[in-house]
C-alpha cells in the first residue's frame, strides 16, 4: 500500500493525469465531431452505435495511450537510475506490483470518465431509450481487460528497456496493427486486437439505402476463444513482467 502511495506521489508533477486526460479529450472531441447531427435511424440505434464507435476509437488509440502511460510510470526510474536503490528498500516484486496497480487505477478512471461522458452525450443527442446496462457493463469489463493486457505489455517493455523509444514504437505499431486488423476480421488473437474481439456490437452497411444496421454479435467458438485470449494475455504479461523485472540486474 505504501509503495502504491509512493507511486502516486512520484507522478504528482509528471503530468501523467494531464496527459491521460488530454488523450481522453481527443476522444471526446472526436466523438463530438463524428456523432453530431444524428439522423432518425441513428437515434433509434444510438446506444448500440455508440458501443461500436467507441470500440473502433479505443482499438485505434488505446495501444498508444497505454504505451504512453507505461512509459511515464517506468521512465522516472530510468532517468533517476533508481531501480537498484529502490530494490534495497522494497522487494522488486512489490515495486512492480505497485507500478502495475498504479497504472490499473489510472486506466479505470480513464474508462469510467469516457463511459460517463459518452453516455451523457448520448442522452444530450436524444438517443432513444436507455443504454443496455448488461451490454455496457460487459463491454467495458472486456475493454478494461484488453487495455490492461496492453498496459502490462508496455510496462514490461518500458521497465526492461531504458530507451523508451522501443516501447513507444511498439505501442504505435500496435495501434496500426489493431486498426488494420479491423479491416480484415472481427476478432484477433493478437494482444492489440483484444478490443476488436471484445466489441459486442457488429454492423451491416446497406449499400443501396446507405443505412447502417447495428446488432449484438453472436460469438462463434473461435471468436469466444479470441475473447478468452485477452485474459490469457493479461496473465502472461503480468507473469512475464513480474518474472523479468524481479530478475533484472537493475
Amino acid at each position: 500500500m505504501k509503495t502504491l502511495q509512493l507511486e502516486f506521489y512520484k507522478i504528482r508533477r509528471r503530468n501523467v493525469w494531464l496527459s491521460m486526460f488530454a488523450m481522453l479529450g481527443i476522444q471526446l472531441l472526436w466523438g463530438l465531431w463524428a456523432m453530431r447531427n444524428p439522423k432518425d435511424w441513428e437515434l433509434a440505434s444510438g446506444w448500440m452505435s455508440l458501443l461500436y464507435s467507441l470500440s473502433v476509437l479505443d482499438g485505434l488509440m488505446m495501444p498508444t495511450i497505454m504505451s504512453l502511460l507505461a512509459s511515464r510510470l517506468a521512465d522516472i526510474e530510468h532517468k533517476g537510475n533508481t531501480y537498484k536503490q529502490l530494490k534495497t528498500l522494497r522487494p522488486a516484486a512489490c515495486l512492480y506490483q505497485a507500478k502495475a496497480l498504479c497504472g490499473t487505477i489510472i486506466l479505470i478512471v480513464l474508462l469510467a470518465l469516457q463511459a460517463a461522458f459518452f453516455i451523457l452525450y448520448g442522452y444530450c443527442l436524444g438517443y432513444e431509450g436507455n443504454p443496455d446496462l448488461h451490454h455496457y457493463l460487459l463491454s467495458y469489463g472486456l475493454k478494461f481487460a484488453s487495455c490492461l493486457s496492453l498496459f502490462l505489455l508496455q510496462l514490461l517493455l518500458s521497465m526492461l528497456f531504458a530507451n523508451q523509444m522501443i516501447s513507444l514504437v511498439i505501442g504505435l505499431g500496435g495501434s496500426m496493427i489493431a486498426l488494420l486488423v479491423m479491416f480484415v476480421a472481427h476478432y484477433s488473437f493478437l494482444p492489440w486486437g483484444g478490443i476488436l474481439s471484445s466489441t459486442l456490437v457488429g454492423m451491416d452497411w446497406d449499400k443501396t439505402s446507405r443505412i447502417i444496421t447495428y446488432f449484438y454479435r453472436e460469438y462463434s467458438p473461435i471468436e469466444t476463444a479470441a475473447v478468452v485470449c485477452i485474459f490469457v494475455w493479461v496473465v502472461v504479461f503480468y507473469a512475464a513482467g513480474h518474472f523479468l523485472f524481479t530478475r533484472r540486474e537493475a
Binding site: M23, S71, Q164, L168, M176, L180
Partner: protein, 241 residues
C-alpha cells in the same frame, strides 16, 4: 570543417547504432501490407488503380502514424540532452546555437525524407505486386515533394516540443493527438492553417480530387518552419532546453 558540419557529424555519432531506423522501416511496411490487402479485397469498388491504391496506403499512415513516428524520432534526437547534465555540455559546445539546432534539424529532416521515400517505394512495389499495368501517375512526384515538405513541418514542430518538454512520451502523445485532430480540421477545410494537416494535404491523403491549394499550402509550410526554427533557437539562446 564548418560549425554546421561539426554539429551534423556530432548528431550522426549520437545516432550511430541506434535502432531508430527500424521504426521508420517497419511501420510503413505494416501500413503498406494492410493497405494493399484492403485494396485487393475491394478491387470491385476501387477502380482507379494507382489512385485507389494510394488512398488505401496513405489515409491512416498520414493522419495517425507518420506524425507520431516523426514525433518519436524527434524525441529520440533530444533524449540524450534531457538526461543527466547533458544540457550543460550541449550548450557550452564551441558552436553557435543555430548550428546546434541545425544539427538536430538536419537529422530530423533527413529521416523524414528517407521515411517518405520508403513509403513511396512501398507504394510502387505494392502496385506492381497487385498487377497494375498502367504507369504510376506523374502526379506522384508532386505528392512526394509536397508530402515531404509537410513532413518537415511536423518534424520542426516536434523538434521544438521535444526540446521544450523533458518527457520522451508526451511529445509523441501530442503528435498522435495532432494527427487525429488534423483529420477533423482538414475536413473543415482549414488544413493549411494547422501544422499536422500539412503532411496529409501534401500527400493528398483522403483527397478524392487530389487537389492542392498550392499557395496556402506552401505559405503554411514556410511560416510554420520559420516560426519553429526561430522559437527553438531563441529557447536555446536563453540557455535551457
Amino acid at each position: 570543417m564548418t560549425a554546421l558540419q561539426k554539429t551534423i557529424s556530432a548528431e550522426r555519432i549520437k545516432l550511430r547504432r541506434s535502432p531508430v531506423w527500424l521504426a521508420f522501416f517497419g511501420l510503413p511496411l505494416i501500413s503498406a501490407f494492410f493497405g494493399t490487402n484492403n485494396y485487393r479485397m475491394n478491387q470491385g469498388i476501387l477502380k482507379s488503380e494507382w489512385l485507389s491504391l494510394w488512398t488505401q496506403h496513405s489515409l491512416f499512415l498520414c493522419f495517425f502514424f507518420m506524425p507520431a513516428l516523426i514525433g518519436t524520432y524527434c524525441s529520440y534526437l533530444w533524449r540524450l540532452e534531457h538526461s543527466r547534465n547533458n544540457w550543460n555540455s550541449f550548450l557550452t559546445a564551441p558552436v553557435s546555437h543555430f548550428a546546434l539546432y541545425f544539427g538536430k534539424l538536419f537529422q530530423g529532416v533527413l529521416m523524414t525524407i528517407l521515411g517518405n521515400a520508403w513509403v513511396f517505394l512501398l507504394y510502387f512495389v505494392c502496385g506492381k505486386l497487385c498487377g497494375l499495368t498502367t504507369p504510376v501517375p506523374k502526379a506522384a512526384l508532386s505528392w512526394f515533394l509536397c508530402g515531404t515538405l509537410g513532413g518537415i513541418v511536423v518534424c520542426c514542430i516536434q523538434l521544438t516540443l521535444s526540446m521544450w518538454i523533458r518527457s520522451f512520451a508526451i511529445p509523441i502523445g501530442i503528435a498522435l493527438a495532432g494527427g487525429i485532430g488534423g483529420l477533423l480540421i482538414t475536413n473543415k477545410g482549414l488544413g493549411c492553417f494547422y501544422p499536422y494537416s500539412l503532411y496529409p494535404i501534401g500527400m493528398r491523403a483522403n483527397n478524392p480530387n487530389m487537389e492542392l491549394p498550392a499557395g496556402q499550402f506552401l505559405s503554411g509550410c514556410v511560416v510554420y518552419i520559420l516560426i519553429c526554427c526561430a522559437v527553438s533557437v531563441w529557447k536555446l539562446k536563453r540557455g535551457e532546453g
